[in-house]
């Protein structure tokens, strides 16, 4: 079973924001408050139990195992045929306007069916979605792991531009992939006691840097109030 995933190496990341701009260009994300699929937040310089630290939170959609954004979607369920980009195998499933692709684990939005209600935007504890109101009709938008590029043989835009080669993209379903190896070696996710919905973006780095990063883990079950 495939699950696309990303590991970001904070030892390499210099917080240059190339990823964020490449993503904005690739997917025509308009400029506006909260309008982004991909972001960089600066953490520190701040004291940690492991010493003074200065690192970054390069963030994007976590393509969670249990995506709460999917369960709050207000569109009606419809049957959709999914196709495995690797084998061409197909599978029928009833889904709403946003769903988790059964062959890649990527959480996607069917823009034709999105009602623009904004429920998924509110539900995401990582604030990884935004409602694009610059369109004729508002639609939710977020990172797709560059699904459309990857199935055509390209890498995600953020990975391609990363000046420090800090972003490693791959399939957790393949135990020999670099992401699988890094996850096995202890890469960290943004989860907390309160919020653990199986995110698939991981970070590696120095203890002090991860200390600052892990404080960014959401603690509020945002989806419960939607």
């Amino acid at each position: 079973m495939s699950q696309w995933a990303m590991v970001i190496d904070l030892n390499r990341c210099v917080g240059c924001h190339a990823c964020a701009i490449a993503c904005r260009a690739e997917w025509q994300v308009p400029v506006g408050e909260g309008y982004r699929r991909n972001w960089v937040k600066r953490l520190g310089p701040a004291n940690t139990p492991h010493g003074l630290a200065f690192t970054f939170y390069p963030g994007l959609c976590n393509h969670c195992d249990h995506p709460v954004c999917v369960s709050v979607c207000t569109a009606d369920e419809e049957e959709k045929v999914f196709k495995c980009p690797k084998t061409g195998k197909t599978k029928k499933m009833k889904v709403r306007a946003t769903y988790k692709d059964p062959f890649t684990g990527v959480v996607l939005i069917d823009k034709d069916r999105c009602l623009g209600c904004g429920a998924c935007v509110e539900a995401c504890p990582y604030k990884a979605r935004y409602l694009n109101e610059e369109l004729d009709e508002p639609k939710a938008d977020k990172c797709t792991f560059c699904y459309e590029r990857v199935i055509r043989g390209e890498v995600p835009a953020c990975v391609k531009t990363c000046i420090a080669d800090a972003r490693i993209f791959g399939d957790l379903g393949d135990p020999n992939s670099e992401v699988s190896k890094l996850v096995k070696a202890g890469a960290k996710r943004l989860v907390s006691k309160e919020v653990n919905i199986g995110p698939n973006v991981y970070w590696v780095g120095k203890e002090k840097d991860l200390y600052l990063l892990l404080q960014q883990a959401p603690k509020e079950k945002t989806w419960e109030n939607v």
Partner: protein, 770 residues
């Protein structure tokens, strides 16, 4: 091939994860219409070119759909950046489509600085500039003109001013406000320009030493990539910086040095290497001169002394130099770039870095200073002045313009080596008419008001001019002061020169138009040719392609041949066998002691020289870069502005506690001369800066209302840098001898002196008040 079939062939995820390919490769077989319908930038037409969002100029591939540039990526053929480009490179699209772009030539109708213009034709604009150049030459002589240049376009105009013969044909902020002192220091030690894009092989270093470096905050893609590569391979990192920078965040040892005391640390380390027999004896014996003099000169400087002067723990200083010594000769001592810090010590501080490098033997071997390649292209002259535009300026039969009676370089014995004259001398001559009047300025691609220290003085100088013209893409505050404004085409709309990195791997890359020039903008090449024509110049080439082909011919290339790939690579040998090591210095050796310096009555070996400590109640104003902006040039770019709209002031946490400040509080800054920030700045409280300094990222606080995105966002550091001192050897203007205190709710907040200042360090004395 149908799209469906194509998808089947593409190989899907496995191929995606395994390979990086140009889109065009796997989109082969699609019709143009089908390709344009693909999502994102997929299926776009690809035009290789060269970035110009900063002066490092990475090779790029611009992607065009339906006539619009939709994406910019690195050129995968580039041996330096490959597919990688930084945030600014990615955002180049928003320079091209900036709503505030200069659209047509304009003539001033209001007062200088008001930015009130009337639209005029290209002919009228160029006639007016040519007329004023001739008039100025006639009335005041050739040297009464100065050209302020930066960026790719500037070179074409520089050629005109140089050919006309003014000694002020170039005033690059990149030189006299920035890299000049470091460049001079390395030139006289190693014999070549080891700085600029520094020739330090960080990718293969086993230990790296950085001084106040903005690596990671100031992005040169190949350098950051090499730096990270080196660290990933296990290099130890030592960062000397009053601020906990991005690089410090990755360091093994951070030395938060008292600002302005770097020479103490360097001299004590030099002594430590010699006293403890830790230097590279083979290199010093066979390839250096001046070792015995150095040994004698630094003898009295020990680690205890440095610890006191620099306000650093002795154990950390010792640990750092031991790491460097253990990893010699594969040590990268990076000279940085901007070195116009304090004035007097700037060249010597960098000499001390070069001496340390030599003692570590970190020269010509992996990890150390390397030897830059020379790209295999011909230098050609674009145009020549056969008939001088003003009669009587030159004697009959005279080929060269005589130098002025008193040169603006007069006070600086080493300024002669470099293009143009020191900025301060030009500004003073413009203000006072001494030693001769300067009455005309040309400005291209540089926002001088946000670059040269004391912008109040710069504005006064501009008021004294008979004429000033600006060539730019956007209406910066400097453009507001122009009499004639010329809209340059952006780098995505024009041919330009040929570019190479001259690093451990190299290429020759072609900049070519991705889309045609918008509005009435024109490429600088064409503007300069037209201006030259009006000044009696004869162009040796009539088109960019002809001019470029003449340069490429030597290597067997042409524009036609390069237009598909954008670049060619060539073999580089950055390292040298020690048996065959030679240096292009006077002695042919690596010069630990500089006789040339001594000949001009400067120390042959650096001596302790410390920048004055802040006046009581003030903190030193440090400035620097953020990774998404280039100087004060990119703040109006909507994507970059969105990413980083304003700057924040870093304040030490102990200082903040004493003053009752917390992150997000707003303070007005007042400098030692009484100048205040234009508006309050938000405070960022952090343990990552020394208590005797504050840090304000550069380039913000735009004062041009015509830059609608950038205007009034953040606070300008340059407008608080009103005091500066001249570097005495080559005449750079210092930037770090300015100090601020805070004003909050109308009350002055004095900065407490938390770290005591030893008597060896003088205190800054106020000479003037605004």
């Amino acid at each position: 091939m149908k799209r469906r079939d194509f998808l089947k062939l593409s190989g899907g995820v496995c191929a995606a994860l395994a390979s990086l390919q140009l889109d065009s490769k796997f989109l082969r077989g699609l019709s143009a219409a089908e390709a344009a319908e693909l999502p994102g930038s997929l299926g776009a037409k690809e035009v290789p070119s060269v970035c110009d969002m900063c002066f490092w100029r990475c090779p790029i591939v611009a992607k065009v759909k339906n006539g619009r540039v939709v994406k910019i990526e690195g050129n995968p053929r580039s041996p330096t950046n490959g597919t990688r480009i930084c945030a600014r490179g990615n955002a180049g699209i928003q320079l091209l489509y900036d709503k505030d772009r200069l659209k047509y030539p304009m003539k001033r109708v209001g007062a200088r600085g008001e930015g009130k213009w009337a639209k005029i034709s290209w002919d009228e604009a160029l006639d007016e500039i040519a007329y004023n150049i001739k008039e100025t030459m006639k009335k005041y002589g050739v040297h009464s003109m100065a050209f302020f240049d930066h960026g790719a376009s500037a070179g074409f105009f520089r050629e005109i001013f140089e050919e006309l013969g003014t000694e002020n044909f170039s005033n690059e902020p990149a030189f006299f406000q920035c890299v000049g002192p470091a460049l001079l220091a390395y030139l006289y030690t190693v014999g070549y320009q080891a700085v600029g894009n520094a020739k330090v092989d960080l990718a293969n270093a086993k230990a790296i030493l950085l001084f106040a470096s903005h690596l990671g905050e100031n992005i040169q893609v190949s350098l950051v990539k090499d730096f990270i590569e080196g660290l990933a391979k296990g290099a130890k990192l030592i960062v000397v910086d009053p601020r906990f920078s991005t690089a410090a965040g990755k360091a093994d040892i951070w030395l938060p040095i008292r600002p302005g005391t770097d020479l103490a640390l360097l001299l004590a380390w030099t002594n430590y290497l010699i006293e403890n027999d830790l230097y590279d004896k083979d290199f010093v014996k066979n390839h250096c001169i001046g070792f015995e003099e150095v040994k004698k000169a630094v003898k009295k400087y020990d680690l205890d002394w440095a610890a006191k002067i620099c306000d650093l723990p002795k154990e950390d200083i010792k640990k750092a130099i031991d790491i460097l010594a253990q990893n010699k000769p594969h040590v990268g001592v990076h000279p940085g770039r901007h070195s116009a810090w304090y004035g007097r010590q700037d060249v010597q501080r960098h000499r001390a870095m070069a001496i340390l490098t030599g003692l570590l033997g970190a020269v010509g071997l992996p990890g150390g200073l390397y030897f830059p390649p020379t790209p295999p292209i011909a230098k050609v002259k674009l145009m020549e002045c056969h008939e001088f535009p003003v009669k009587g300026i030159f004697e009959e039969g005279e080929k060269e313009v005589p130098p002025p009676e008193v040169s603006l370089k007069e006070d600086y014995p080493f300024a002669e080596l470099f293009h143009g004259s020191p900025t301060d001398a030009i500004i003073k001559a413009t203000l006072t008419g001494k030693p001769y009047p300067i009455k005309l300025w040309g400005v291209c691609g540089v926002n001088i008001i946000q670059t040269i220290p004391n912008p109040y003085q710069t504005k006064e100088a501009i008021k004294n001019l008979d004429f000033i013209f600006c060539v730019d893409n956007i209406p910066t505050e400097s453009v507001l002061w122009a009499d004639i404004v010329l809209p340059d085409a952006t780098y995505l709309e024009r041919y330009d020169g040929l570019y190479s990195a001259q690093e451990t791997k190299d290429y020759v890359a072609l900049r070519q138009p991705v889309v045609p020039p918008m509005f009435e903008s024109r490429p600088a090449f064409q503007i300069a040719l037209e201006l030259g024509k009006r000044l009696g110049f004869k162009a040796n080439y009539t088109s960019e392609v002809e001019w470029l082909d003449a340069q490429l011919k030597k290597a067997g290339y042409s524009v036609a041949k390069l237009s598909k790939t954008g670049l060619f690579t060539y073999e580089v040998n950055p390292y040298r066998d020690r048996k065959h090591l030679s240096f292009d210095t006077d002695s042919g050796k690596y010069e630990l002691a500089s006789e040339a310096f001594a000949d001009e009555d400067f120390p042959a070996i650096p001596e302790p020289d410390f920048a004055p400590a802040p006046p009581k109640g003030y903190a030193r104003l440090l400035y620097g870069r953020v990774p998404v902006h280039t100087f004060a040039k990119t703040m109006n770019n909507i994507w970059l502005n969105n990413e980083w709209p304003e700057n924040h002031l870093w304040v030490n946490d102990e200082v903040a506690r004493a003053l009752g400040l917390k992150t997000g509080d707003e303070v007005i800054l007042e400098n030692q001369d009484g100048y205040r920030s234009e508006k309050p700045v938000k405070v960022f409280v952090t343990p990552g800066i020394r208590p005797d300094a504050v840090y304000l990222p550069h380039g913000f606080g735009s004062r041009s209302p015509m830059l609608k995105t950038a205007y009034g966002k953040g606070v300008s550091d340059t407008f608080l840098i009103t005091h500066y001192e001249q570097e005495p050897m080559m005449g750079a203007s210092s930037h770090r001898n300015n100090f601020v205190r805070f004003i909050k709710d109308g009350k002055v907040l004095s900065i407490p002196e938390i770290r005591p200042v030893p008597p060896e360090i003088p205190r800054f004395e106020n000479r003037k008040r605004a």
